[in-house]
């Protein structure tokens, strides 16, 4: 398989709701193997972009290519095959509430793969342990889990088919700082172990500093800047200044300085 440098490439994307353009000609590239952090104001269209790439929303025009294949040109089967190569972690986890954690993780395997019961049990447990959960979580229902455990279990489910890309929608929101930090470490470790490309929508300045190789910022329906976090800090777009040099950002930066 030829290695494609840009694993996701979005060109001139326009997405509209009720005649109002939320994304106005947005272009973005994600490179193979990187962890991209995507930031932007609440309600600015970060999740809209994510949901458009994974096919939950329709675009007005523009093109989206994933793994070098234009999503518009794929027929149903090719599209499904492609969808198997990515995993999505929704903001609230979106675990199926009527299935146990193990059944949740096994769900995509059961549908797409031909594995024996024993192997599926072992793989489900291996995935759970990879995301830092223990065997006793297997039999629990999602409603019995804490917020952090739900995110981890949902991550395990999104990794069920060994995807090449994972999309994470605010993975650390709603977690305490310790769990959020652990989750960041986990994402880094997994991306290294499994060779994952990670596309992460986040508001967490800490994760942007620690895990992201590159950061892209969305404002006014376009990507206004992208590059490593240092470049973001040096940028002088007013929104970026407010975002990365606001009061909360300064606290994070101060914390980092005192740590080092």
């Amino acid at each position: 398989m030829a290695e494609i440098e840009n694993i996701i490439s979005v060109r001139d994307l326009v997405v509209a709701f009720n005649g109002y353009d939320v994304l106005k000609g947005l272009s973005l590239d994600v490179k193979r193997g990187e962890i991209l952090g995507f930031v932007g104001a609440s309600g600015g269209g970060k999740s809209v972009l994510l949901r458009t790439i994974i096919g939950l929303l329709h675009k007005k025009h523009g093109s989206i290519s994933v793994f070098g294949q234009n999503l518009d040109e794929l027929d149903e089967d090719a599209r499904q095959a492609l969808e198997r190569r990515w995993g999505v972690l929704f903001q609230q986890g979106a675990l199926f509430s009527s299935l146990t954690v193990r059944e949740n993780i096994q769900f995509p395997m059961r549908e797409y793969l031909n594995l024996s019961k024993r192997l599926m049990d072992e793989i489900a447990l291996a995935k759970l342990e990879m995301v830092g959960l223990t065997a006793d979580v297997c039999k629990k229902m999602p409603s019995e889990l804490s917020g952090g455990m739900i995110k981890r279990a949902a991550l395990a489910r999104s990794l069920a088919l060994d995807p090449e890309i994972v999309f994470l929608d605010e993975p650390t929101s709603g977690l305490d700082p310790i769990s959020a930090g652990e989750f960041d470490d986990l994402i880094m470790a997994l991306s290294e172990t499994l060779g994952l490309t990670v596309y992460m929508v986040t508001h967490d300045l800490d994760s942007l500093h620690t895990v992201c190789d590159r950061v892209a910022a969305l404002a006014d329906g376009r990507v206004i800047a992208q590059g490593p976090i240092e470049a973001m800090l040096a940028a002088d777009h007013p929104w970026l200044k407010a975002y990365f040099h606001g009061k909360r950002a300064r606290n994070v930066a101060a914390g980092r300085r005192s740590k080092h």
Binding site: S98, L113, D121, E122, A126, E144, D162, T193, L194, G195
Partner: protein, 378 residues
């Protein structure tokens, strides 16, 4: 690719060399797993095992786990087992899966069917006792809340009651009218058809009148309302419970029973007798029309005969029952709604339970009323 190509093993003196090859990925696991198991089953007596990963083209978690399973089957017996010539990029993955599945998987033993069945029955009995207790306790809560309203009439939620009266009462009128009309018509038709064999057609009016006013009117309306409004109450309260809205009310110092439940119950207790009245009248009209068209006695005759056989008591019996039916439906619906927990599954379960239990209790209650009214000669 031939299936054998995935795995080959050669015995070299006291050393076993196992060579996985090709793509060890999830899509191929169905073919690879039996091969792994076969090699493990053979298990020649050896001192050393080498897993030579030279021929491996691709590896994912599933493949890595299968290799780990291979390794473990000898390593656990204390035999020196090594994975050699593995591409460095897969090293992390192999060491990652080496940490998983360390504890023996606990397979829960199946329960013998007889015990399972007995357990079910036992649980069912215990649950119905719990249900009864819950409803009685809840009725107590409602009474306390009602008492508070009587002391502080300003807390009375008039708007909310009107809203609920609209949804459970006014909007239910068309379907109640229709269904009771049909029931009345069917009763009359069946009566005429069978009574005519004895030449007793005039008694059809007695039957339709008494049956509709005493039993059928109120029962049909109650069952309809249990399905229509009871389920809605359960679903509404249940989803509020899931979204922690009820907890939010409580922490703001409000009593959810007073704010959410009392208006619902009050509306139901007012609406059900009204609907019963409308429904019974509609059933009588249905019966009357069938008597006229099918049985051949004119409307005046039908009405005269009704006047003769129906006493005010017959009418009262039906109407007295209505508010009690409403109370039972409302209580069951609210109790079930507040029992909903986190999942969508639970919401579905309790909504079903609400309707089934409400209908069952309505019929049981009707039986008690029948005994009571017989006892007081009504």
């Amino acid at each position: 690719m031939a299936a054998d190509a995935f795995l080959s093993s050669t015995l070299d003196g006291r050393r076993l060399i196992i060579a996985p090859a090709g793509e060890w990925i999830a899509q191929r696991a169905g073919e690879i797993e039996p091969l792994v198991d076969a090699v493990v089953r053979e298990r020649p007596q050896v001192e050393r095992v080498e897993i030579d990963a030279r021929g491996l083209q691709r590896l994912d978690t599933v493949g890595a786990w299968l290799m780990e399973r291979l390794r473990r089957s000898w390593a656990d017996a204390g035999i020196n087992t090594q994975i050699v010539s593995l591409e460095p990029r897969y090293q992390v993955l192999i060491s990652e899966v080496a940490h998983s599945n360390l504890k023996e998987f606990e397979h829960h033993r199946p329960i013998p069917p007889m015990r399972d069945a007995l357990e079910h029955v036992g649980k069912g009995v215990a649950d119905s006792v719990d249900d009864f207790e819950a409803i009685v306790r809840f009725l107590g809560n409602v009474m306390v809340a009602a008492g508070r309203i009587i002391i502080h009439p300003s807390h009375f939620r008039f708007t909310s009651i009107v809203h609920h009266l609209d949804t459970v009462g006014y909007r239910a009128v068309p379907i109640i009218v229709l269904i009771n009309f049909l029931i009345g018509a069917i009763l009359a038709q069946q009566g005429i058809f069978h009574f005519s064999k004895f030449g007793a057609e005039p008694f059809v009016v007695d039957m339709v009148g008494i049956l509709v006013l005493r039993e059928v009117g109120v029962l049909i309306v109650s069952i309809m309302i249990a399905g229509r409004s009871g389920s809605a109450y359960t679903a509404e309260l249940g989803s509020m419970k899931m979204q922690e809205e009820i907890d939010a009310l409580r922490v703001m110092g409000f009593d959810p029973v007073e704010i959410l439940i009392l208006p619902k119950l009050t509306a139901l207790v007012i609406a059900l007798p009204l609907l019963t009245f409308i429904g019974s009248m509609s059933a009588l009209v249905g019966g009357g029309i069938v008597c006229w068209l099918y049985g051949g006695f004119a409307p005046e005759v039908f009405i005269d005969r009704l006047r003769e056989v129906i006493t005010i008591d017959t009418f009262r019996v039906g109407m007295i029952k209505a508010p009690f039916m409403a109370l039972v439906i409302g209580l069951v619906a609210c109790v079930e709604g507040l029992r909903v927990e986190g999942s969508a599954d639970s919401l579905g379960y309790h909504t079903t339970a609400s309707v089934v239990k409400a209908i069952f209790l309505v019929i049981v209650l009707d039986g008690f009323f029948a005994m009571f009214f017989a006892g007081i000669d009504m």
